[in-house]
């Protein structure tokens, strides 16, 4: 791709992001209207304030007004100052309300998309970036909604209002305002165009450099282990400093646009002062009637205000750029998340009492996310109440099979649970009837009790304790300083793999499933604990169907039947298979 093409496509993407940004902002139309409207009214009050100020000065200097006459004028000015401050406050609050509404809605929407995404958890690195998008990137929209949008409205309307007010005093001054104010954006754009291309290239260089900084930070341990820290630190400094030199070359052009703004603003003030002054002296004579001191002063007081909204807009321009970049990053992170028509579920914990569910699959084909076939049109049957072990080498696809049976990942073929097609079981009914504990269960941020209550949010302390006991978790939980109230998960105490696994098992004991799918429930346990966990599981499994993926011979031997999973096939093995029939790979 050529540089030009790259810039063009980047601009197209930025325009699309800007449109999405506007669409997001429309969700908070009412507070936004107030956020933009309050400063507008404040601007109009400023016209009155300038007029009163000018009258007070005029009265005192040229007319000899008495102190008594001045008092109400001064009071009115004070009133206007307070009213404008009040309007500013209202505007600020409304702007914050608008921004917070936009951000909150977007966050909730993103969170929903995240839950509705593909069940296979993203790699660690990606989840960090996704969380950062939901928290930090969404926060970057704040400046755009709260500051840039109101500033844009003010910049479009207030200069015209000030010019109109100036017309009431003097046509020439009005024309001067009317001509210079709209010219500013035009000139800024003109200067800006020159700087834009160079600026884009520079921004890209800066982003690359920031990327390099982040890249090297991520691999910090590697650099340290190879003794390359100091060399990389020096290289980073040198690259940043080299960028500084190049950036300044570009900024010399880019800052011309702020010089243009300053030029017109100074021209406005100086122009009004000189024109009015010369009119007073009679050296310029464009008027029918002589100009009063009050009118001249009012014009001068308005002059700097005409350009103020534009300066404000220029100051908040980077808020827009930052928001566009943030929207693009959010799309990049979340766009990759596949959205299905998944519904969020809160199942009733009491299932329909229809006895244990048989687990059946026919012509089941499973593929990993990168397209490798791990099961090819296989059949499987575990009759109601049977306890079956699924064995096979690591990586053969045992976990994938369990995920598919639990409707956590898509599969080809037919799966039936309790004689109903899996695809047709309502989410709430499925989750109430099917117990599932994965191989690497997540410990959520919260206490151990909270984590166990994932099984049943309404479980009593006593029930939680009993569940922990059945999962052989009680001994180590009681040894922890805060017991069941110990904070675990992200930002909490780290539990070992075996401990986390037993907490996850305890969740299961708070439920009453018709079928149970377990993935390596005893992987991290010593022999004695494994035996204990297994016995409790077998007790719990009475009157339920249970499928256990395992490496452990102890676990496999305790089941009614064993399915061996190897090289894309599932085959029954072992001497005892009274109630499980497993039928070969259909291709065989």
């Amino acid at each position: 791709m050529t540089n030009d093409a790259r810039t063009t496509s980047a601009r197209t993407a930025a325009r699309a992001a800007a449109r999405r940004l506007s669409a997001l902002s429309r969700g908070a139309a009412a507070p936004l209207a107030l956020a933009a409207g309050a400063p507008l009214v404040g601007g109009l009050l400023l016209i009155a304030q300038a007029a009163l100020m000018a009258r007070a000065l005029d009265g005192a200097i040229s007319g000899g007004t008495t102190r008594a006459d001045l008092a109400p004028v001064l009071l009115a000015i004070a009133g206007l100052i307070v009213a404008r401050a009040g309007l500013g406050f209202v505007g600020d609050c409304a702007a914050a309300a608008a921004a917070e509404t936009v951000k909150r809605r977007l966050r909730n929407d993103l969170f929903r998309r995240l839950l509705a995404g593909d069940a296979v958890a993203a790699a660690d690195r990606r989840s960090g970036a996704l969380a950062s998008a939901l928290v930090d990137q969404v926060e970057a929209l704040d400046g755009f909604v709260a500051r840039f949008l109101p500033a844009a409205v003010q910049a479009a309307l207030l200069p015209l209002a000030f010019a109109a007010a100036a017309f009431a005093y003097d046509v020439t001054v009005g024309l001067l305002f009317l001509l210079t104010a709209p010219l500013i954006p035009a000139f800024m754009a003109l200067v800006g165009w020159g700087a834009q291309a160079a600026g884009d290239a520079q921004a890209a260089a800066l982003a690359r450099l920031s990327g390099r900084f982040a890249d090297r930070l991520r691999g910090l341990t590697t650099l340290r282990l190879f003794g390359r820290l100091e060399a990389e630190a020096a290289a980073l400094e040198a690259a940043t400093d080299e960028l500084r030199v190049r950036t300044l070359r570009v900024l010399r052009i880019a800052f011309l646009s702020s010089a243009v703004l300053e030029f017109f603003a100074a021209l406005g003030v100086a122009g009004v002062a000189l024109y009015v002054g010369l009119s007073y002296l009679g050296l310029v004579d464009l008027r029918a009637a002589p100009l009063t001191l009050g009118a001249g002063l009012a014009c001068l007081l308005l002059a700097p205000e005409v350009y103020q909204p534009l300066r404000l807009l220029a100051a908040h321009h980077h808020d827009r750029a930052a928001a566009i970049a943030a929207v693009q990053e959010i799309e990049r992170q979340f766009g990759a998340l596949a959205t299905s028509d998944f519904t969020l579920a809160a199942p009733a914990l009491v299932r329909c009492d229809d006895g244990p569910w048989a687990i059946e699959a026919s012509a089941l084909t499973l593929r990993t996310s990168d397209g490798v076939t791990i099961l090819d049109r296989a059949d499987l049957r575990a009759s109601a109440g049977a306890r079956i072990a699924v064995v096979g080498p690591s990586g053969a696809g045992k976990s994938t099979l369990l995920d598919a049976l639990a409707r956590l990942r898509p599969a080809e073929g037919t799966i039936r649970l309790g004689a109903r097609a899996l695809a047709g079981i309502p989410e709430a009914r499925l989750r109430a009837g099917l117990g599932y504990v994965g191989q690497r269960s997540r410990l959520f941020h919260g206490t151990i009790a909270d984590n166990i209550r994932l099984g049943d949010a309404s479980a009593s302390d006593d029930a939680v304790r009993r569940a922990a006991d059945r999962a052989a978790a009680l001994p180590f939980v009681e040894r922890l300083p805060d017991g069941f109230e110990t904070l675990v998960g992200e930002g909490g105490l780290g539990l070992s793999g075996g401990e986390a696994q037993r907490i996850a098992l305890a969740r299961l004991y708070l439920r009453d499933p018709a079928a149970i799918l377990l993935d390596e429930p005893t992987a991290h346990l010593d022999a004695a604990t494994e035996r204990l966990v297994l016995d409790r599981l077998l007790t719990f499994a009475r009157g339920r169907t249970m499928l256990v993926a395992t490496h452990s011979a102890t676990v496999a031997d305790a089941m009614d039947g064993v399915l061996r999973f190897e090289a894309g096939r599932l085959a029954p093995c072992g001497p005892r298979q009274p109630r499980a029939s497993l039928v070969k790979d259909a291709a065989a």
């Binding site: 909730n108 940043t240 001249g296 700097p304 997540r442």
Partner: protein
């Protein structure tokens, strides 16, 4: 705030640039104030002049033009000088952060692997970097302008000076201090809620299967929505306080101008102050509003920078987890190592490794297997002295690591990390990290041993072809092989390979493991793996269960 001060040396090194930027921004403000004041004076004087002939037009009009030009030029210069100084400091803060982080321990390496820690660090560096341009500069110039105008009043209109000075002090100092005090608790709440939201997101992402399986997705959504709602409320509270402070600043500045107006009109009525001076002073005071208008925003940025400085300082202050021995003797020759009753846990009292003992002779190839979380990677970290054991000793070539120089150790032992990164850049840049002085022949030899030479040779540009962000153009298997080549380039006699085949499909994994023997010929190898090992890859296999190693197979 105090943390911010500890960075002053980085800024002080470029004091000249900052002073220049400050002076220029002061000149911009002062020129604006003077322009408005002079214009008011000129206009009124012209009105009062009876005839054009008796009025000196040249002086004021030249001054008006001069001030205009000064303002344009100084505004331009101010921006340029400010950005120059800022970028200069940015380079140093980055270098500083990098070196400070480099001293960190094992936990840091883990948290950096998550993208968000890196993102927060970069954001902190940027916030600290811009503290001058967006916060310190405007506050300082504002205070100076307020002081200057008060002093001017002290000469021309002493009656108004205290009122005006008080009003400006309230606007520039009082209101900001009140704002800081009024937002401290809410600010901490906002940080805490953001962290909670981040954790809820990570929980939903990585625990999605559990949430779905237990039908808890709706509950998770409600919880996250409640956090977002609370966060929004807190931020609105912060914005309302900032808005109130802005209003207070506006009222204070307005009161100052109004007080000045009243005092000057009194003085005028008493004949102590001429009409043009009255107007000039009042307009100059109004021009000073430009300085007060930015105060609240600057304070907000100041707070953000102070918080960033606080976090960066914590990194620097973190105690280095391993202490370097004073003048350690050189490491004896030899490629053997041993763990002797080593106990280590991230939380003391809950050890991951419990009195673990085993030894590996020079040239031996030993595999370590065991369930995840059993402490296999911890073992590798201890061998490279990313942390010291809480009990027992780790020794290389018979020398306790605590009595060895870290540079010696890193030359003797090389680690292929479980999550070893591919750096942005070319294959050459990535390999140079293993050995910066290796020639092309050595690089190709390492690539050949890792069986990646054909892939790199096929790239347009070969060794120098850009590999894309985080090695995006390579497949997972190729990326892993590049990391292996990098490790093989190191002259270390002992190689520790932590899950070298993670992320590879089974066929690639097999090929990779079969190549490993010839590639590491002559060196001691500790292979940490989950994979089923083909015959002959390892001389023996140790199984790590419950923090203790058990000999698994001969």
């Amino acid at each position: 705030m105090i943390a911010l001060l500890s960075f002053r040396r980085l800024f002080a090194a470029h004091a000249g640039r900052f002073v220049a930027a400050l002076a220029l921004s002061l000149a911009t403000l002062a020129a604006g104030v003077a322009l408005l004041g002079l214009s008011g004076w000129f206009l009124t004087a012209a009105f009062l002049a009876s005839a054009a002939a008796s009025f000196n037009l040249f002086g004021p009009s030249a001054a008006v033009r001069g001030l205009s030009m000064l303002r344009i030029a100084s505004r331009y210069g101010e921006k340029l000088a400010g950005h120059d100084a800022t970028l200069k400091v940015l380079a140093e803060i980055r270098g500083w952060t990098f070196r400070a982080l480099g001293r960190g321990g094992l936990d840091l390496g883990r948290s950096l692997r998550r993208g968000d820690a890196v993102a927060r660090l970069t954001a902190d560096v940027d916030a600290l970097d811009s503290v001058f341009i967006v916060a310190a500069g405007p506050l300082a110039t504002g205070a100076l302008i307020g002081l200057g105008l008060t002093a001017l009043l002290g000469v021309l209109l002493p009656a108004a000076a205290p009122v005006y000075g008080l009003a400006m002090a309230s606007a520039l100092i009082g209101a900001p201090l009140l704002l800081v005090a009024a937002t401290r608790r809410l600010g901490a709440d906002a940080v805490r809620l953001s962290a909670e939201l981040r954790m809820a997101t990570l929980d939903a992402l990585e625990g999605r299967a559990d949430l779905v399986a237990f039908g808890a997705t709706e509950a998770a959504r409600r919880r996250s929505a409640a956090i977002a709602e609370r966060l929004a409320r807190v931020r609105r509270g912060l914005a309302a306080r900032a808005g109130l402070a802005s209003a207070a600043v506006a009222v204070c500045a307005g009161a100052g101008a109004l007080g000045l107006l009243v005092a000057s009109l009194e003085a005028h009525a008493a004949g102590a102050l001429s009409g043009p001076l009255v107007v000039g002073l009042v307009l100059a005071a109004l021009g000073g509003f430009e300085a007060t208008a930015v105060v609240v925003r600057a304070i907000g940025k100041f707070g953000a920078a102070a918080a960033a400085a606080e976090r960066l300082k914590t990194i620097n202050d973190a105690v280095c987890p391993v202490a370097e021995a004073l003048r350690p003797p050189p490491l004896p020759r030899g490629g053997g190592f041993a763990f002797d009753r080593v106990t280590y846990g991230y939380d003391t009292g809950r050890p991951v490794l419990r009195a673990l003992s085993f030894s590996v002779a020079a040239g031996e190839r030993v595999a370590i297997v065991g369930p995840s979380g059993a402490g296999k990677s911890t073992l590798a970290a201890l061998l490279l002295r990313l942390a010291d054991p809480q009990a027992g000793r780790v020794s290389v070539a018979g020398r306790d690591l605590r009595e060895a120089a870290s540079s010696d150790l890193l030359r003797r032992v090389a680690l292929l990390e479980q999550h070893a990164p591919i750096f942005g850049g070319s294959a050459r840049e990535n390999l140079a990290i293993g050995d910066p002085f290796a020639d092309d022949a050595a690089l190709w030899a390492a690539l050949r041993k890792a069986r990646l030479d054909d892939v790199i040779a096929a790239l347009h540009g070969g060794l120098d072809a850009p590999l894309g962000e985080a090695g995006g153009t390579l497949s997972a298997g190729q990326a892993r092989r590049l990391c292996l080549a990098r490790t093989l380039l190191s002259p270390a006699e002992i190689l520790v390979l932590d899950e070298p085949t993670s992320g590879l499909d089974r066929a690639t994994e097999r090929a990779f493991l079969e190549d490993l023997g010839p590639a590491t010929e002559g060196r001691t190898v500790l292979l940490i793996t989950h994979a089923a090992l083909p015959e002959g890859v390892a001389d023996r296999t140790l199984r790590l269960v419950d923090g203790v190693a058990i000999e698994a197979t001969p």
